[in-house]
């Protein structure tokens, strides 16, 4: 038994050894559903931009596959007793793409640019707020960086690792033009930025002097050795065209196949599907200020009318797990109590609706076709509500309009999705807050607000968990929204692509992937 395992490992290793030279000549072609916005980490960005940028630059810390934070450019992080000083020891031997070694000065330089208002860094607000505020970045020696905070924070390291913050990526100052504006990233990542032909493709080339961590790939952390010479992200906006392109052999990785296409793809020989639960959240929002929906009985009636498991099964082709909790199923803060999904009860729903004074008024559900899931959720919700005698109309908007309505809180009901939040506090924060100053917030309850702020300061995991459970119970009672599920990312590859895996954040990772023909 041991012998066979050993043999298998040997075979695998030799095949790697044989494959590498061949792979090195190859280009890995990956579908990108829209062009990226810039190459400036965490500044002018979207999910696609983050996904390109994380191949090129790295931060002090990085996100692991389980959404915990691991080391990257920093070999160790030490937190002071009072929780207000973070000391990062830089890993030796790391070089930028231009050959310069990484020093603490580079870290300080990049951090200072991030924290300047005019840089418009996405996460500056989060690290300069009443909850978390950076007061100083110090460089006692070439290999050490100390970052000081105003008060202790449970979220600081997570913030630094957030992909949408560009992982607070550290780049060489050559990345800037002489006038201080962004030119192109000179990072430490496994790939260099090659040609970016707008609207067509973004090309990356292997960084031959990449200093990889030992071990296996793990989220954005771990071993990120590049195995192909070139990666081309080809922009294919249309899903049907993208699928056709994969089947026709025009691309090697389709990182985001729609669940709709899975039954058909599964039947094809030589096609592998890599599914991984994502950390986003699909929800049905309800406006608690609406004359009808301000009555909690009405909102409960709606929640009871929904057959959540059936709905989720239909929308995700059975790949996602229904969950009424805002904290993602994979999170360490997801407790058994959260796993319970209240059953559908149409009779009770009718009763509650009648009590709330519902007399056949037609509700309006806002949705869009930009994200098929939103649309399907809305269609199914409409249909399920009808079983409980609640009539509704769909208001299918173009995405920008829906987002605008969301931000102004201008809706009765809305099928919506939140992007991945890496910390349970952030998961609650995304829909909890005062409507007076932030109309987009769905849940306006001062008590809950206080509980939320407490979890942000609390560093003890057990106490935090307890608070989150309490918040979850209140959420099910007050139903300002119905959480439905986190989607599943389905990466699709043909046989010759090896080492690819989907993960909790949608965008693909090209390191560790080989082409073997």
């Amino acid at each position: 038994m041991r012998f066979r395992a050993l043999l298998a490992a040997f075979a695998a290793a030799s095949s790697v050894a044989l494959a590498v030279p061949a792979a090195a000549q190859d280009t890995l072609r990956i579908r990108l559903n829209a062009d990226i916005r810039s190459t400036d980490p965490g500044v002018n960005r979207d999910a696609n931009t983050d996904g390109i940028v994380w191949h090129v630059v790295e931060g002090l810390v990085a996100l692991r596959a389980d959404a915990s934070v691991g080391p990257m450019l920093a070999e160790r992080v030490e937190v002071s007793e009072d929780g207000r000083a973070y000391t990062f020891a830089l890993r030796p031997g790391v070089r930028f793409h231009n050959g310069q070694p990484l020093t603490s000065a580079d870290v300080a330089f990049a951090m200072q640019r991030y924290m300047r208002r005019e840089t418009n860094w996405r996460c500056r607000g989060d690290l300069d707020s009443s909850v978390t505020r950076i007061t100083a970045v110090e460089t006692p020696d070439e290999r050490t960086v100390v970052i000081r905070l105003e008060q202790p924070s449970a979220l600081f390291l997570t913030m630094l690792a957030r992909p949408d913050c560009g992982q607070a990526g550290i780049w060489h100052r050559d990345s800037l033009n002489p006038d201080g504006s962004w030119r192109a990233p000179v990072g430490t990542g496994p790939f260099r930025l090659g040609e970016w032909r707008r609207g067509q493709f973004v090309e990356l080339t292997r960084f031959e002097n990449y200093a990889a961590l030992p071990g296996a790939p793990d989220g954005l952390a771990g071993n990120k050795t590049p195995m192909v010479e070139r990666v081309r992200f080809t922009i294919i906006p249309d899903d049907a065209a993208a699928r056709a392109a994969l089947l026709a052999g025009n691309i090697d990785i389709l990182p985001d196949a729609r669940s709709r296409d899975l039954p058909e793809l599964r039947q094809r020989p030589g096609i592998s599907i890599h599914s991984a639960a994502s950390m986003d959240l699909q929800v049905l929002l309800m406006q608690t200020r609406d004359p009808l929906l301000q009555d909690v009985r009405m909102r409960r009636a709606i929640a009871l009318a929904l057959d959540v498991p059936e709905l989720v099964r239909a929308v995700s082709e059975g790949t996602s797990r229904p969950s009424r909790a805002p904290i993602p199923v994979g999170s360490t803060f997801f407790t058994p109590a959260m796993a319970e999904v209240p059953p559908r009860d149409v009779a009770q729903a009718r009763r509650l609706a009648a009590e709330a004074g519902y007399r056949g008024q037609r509700l309006r559900i806002v949705t869009t076709r930009r994200y098929e899931a939103f649309y399907e959720i809305a269609v199914l919700v409409q249909d399920m509500l009808r079983d409980a005698g609640i009539e509704s109309d769909l208001e299918v908007l173009e995405w920008a309009t829906q987002l605008d309505r969301y931000t102004r809180g201008d809706y009765q009901m809305m099928a919506f999705g939140f992007s991945a939040r890496l910390d349970p506090s952030l998961s609650y924060e995304m829909f909890t807050g005062p409507k007076a100053t932030q109309p987009r917030k769905a849940w306006d309850n001062p008590e809950v607000q206080a509980m939320l702020e407490q979890t942000m300061r609390e560093t003890d995991a057990i106490r935090r968990r307890a608070t989150f459970e309490a918040m979850h119970r209140r959420l099910l009672e007050e139903v300002p929204m119905v959480a439905l599920y986190s989607s599943v990312t389905h990466g699709v590859t043909p046989r010759h692509v090896q080492g690819y895996g989907s993960w909790a954040v949608d965008a693909p990772r090209a390191w560790g992937v080989r082409i073997q023909r």
Binding site: R37, D46, P237, D238, A241, A244, N250, E398, A400, D404
Partner: protein, 314 residues
């Protein structure tokens, strides 16, 4: 001639200005905020306000409009909100994708339509005529994206003759570029040929009734020459006008085709910019399209006298 061209361009200025103004204010009437789209669902109100200020969207609308006009007058179309790219070069880049496809398609459609339309008219009411008209009508009754998808499935996926995606500039690899635009060109050409065949046939029928055709025949001119020399130029003139219209419309972007065939063209740029509320790009594309429209019309008017000398350009 040069004076005439200049005058025509001058006369077109109000049209361009009107188009620019209407698109500017129409887009601002439409809900949706580029800052919000950039920052997404996690945006804080302060971050949105900061970004709006950085993009210059916090100023009064008329001021924004005048500033934009002033820059455009100086040849600066601004930068894309989405990716910071200069709009002018961006437009040209995308136009370089759309233009060859459209020109090739309309050219092919015209080459197909004129002989078929003329022959159908010449053999009016014959079986060939009925067949041609039926096919033409069927072609123009087909949704272009539908036809495109079927062609893509058959030739891209099943037969694998052409790539499903992958636009390549001609300068880079003419052979692969040709492959990449083959299907969109064929689709567009087939659809447009339907319209053009009917037009060419109708105008040929008109011309065949006229005395000068009888006159030519009375001189003993062979039938082929009658068609080529006496019927064609006169029948082609109205078709030319239609071709101009079609060209003007298509050059402004073939968003649907570009979506089906994954071409990074002008139409796709406009659609994306609209969805992203990328105002500088929308305004730039709009102005560009209006300008193309004016120029194509001008070109048709300049070309028209070649086929119908009764009409003079000046």
């Amino acid at each position: 001639m040069a004076g005439y061209v200049l005058r025509r361009l001058l006369v077109a200025l109000p049209t361009l200005l009107l188009a620019a103004a209407s698109v500017f204010f129409l887009m601002r009437l439409v809900p949706g905020d580029p800052a919000l789209l950039i920052l997404g669902d996690a945006a804080t109100p302060e971050a949105v306000a900061d970004l709006r200020a950085a993009l210059g969207l916090d100023r009064p609308l008329p001021v924004q409009f005048l500033l934009w006009l002033e820059r455009v007058a100086a040849g600066d179309f601004g930068r894309s909100i989405t990716n910071g790219e200069a709009v002018g070069p961006l437009l040209l880049d995308r136009f370089a994708v759309t233009a060859p496809v459209v020109l090739a398609a309309v050219g092919a459609a015209a080459l197909l339509a004129v002989p078929f339309g003329m022959l159908a008219a010449w053999k009016q009411d014959s079986l060939a005529d009925v067949a041609t008209v039926t096919v033409a009508t069927l072609l123009l009754s087909m949704p272009s994206f539908w036809l495109g998808l079927i062609l893509l499935l058959v030739f891209g996926l099943w037969l694998g003759w052409v790539p499903v995606v992958g636009w390549v500039p001609f300068a880079e690899d003419p052979w692969r570029a040709l492959h990449a635009i083959l299907l969109p060109v064929v689709t567009l050409a087939l659809v447009e040929a339907g319209v053009l065949i009917r037009m060419a046939r109708a105008s040929t029928v008109e011309v065949l009734r006229l005395d000068y055709v009888a006159h030519a025949r009375a001189k003993g001119v062979p039938e082929g020459r009658v068609l080529a020399r006496h019927v064609f130029p006169n029948a082609f003139a109205p078709t030319l006008t239609l071709i101009g219209l079609v060209l003007g419309n298509l050059l402004g972007g073939i968003a649907v085709m570009e979506t089906v065939f994954t071409l990074p063209g002008l139409g796709r740029l406009l659609v994306d910019a609209i969805f992203a509320r990328d105002y500088p790009v929308i305004q730039g594309v709009m102005l560009f399209i209006a300008a193309i429209y004016v120029l194509v019309n001008l070109a048709v008017d300049l070309l028209y006298p070649v086929f119908d000398p009764r009409v003079t350009a000046d």
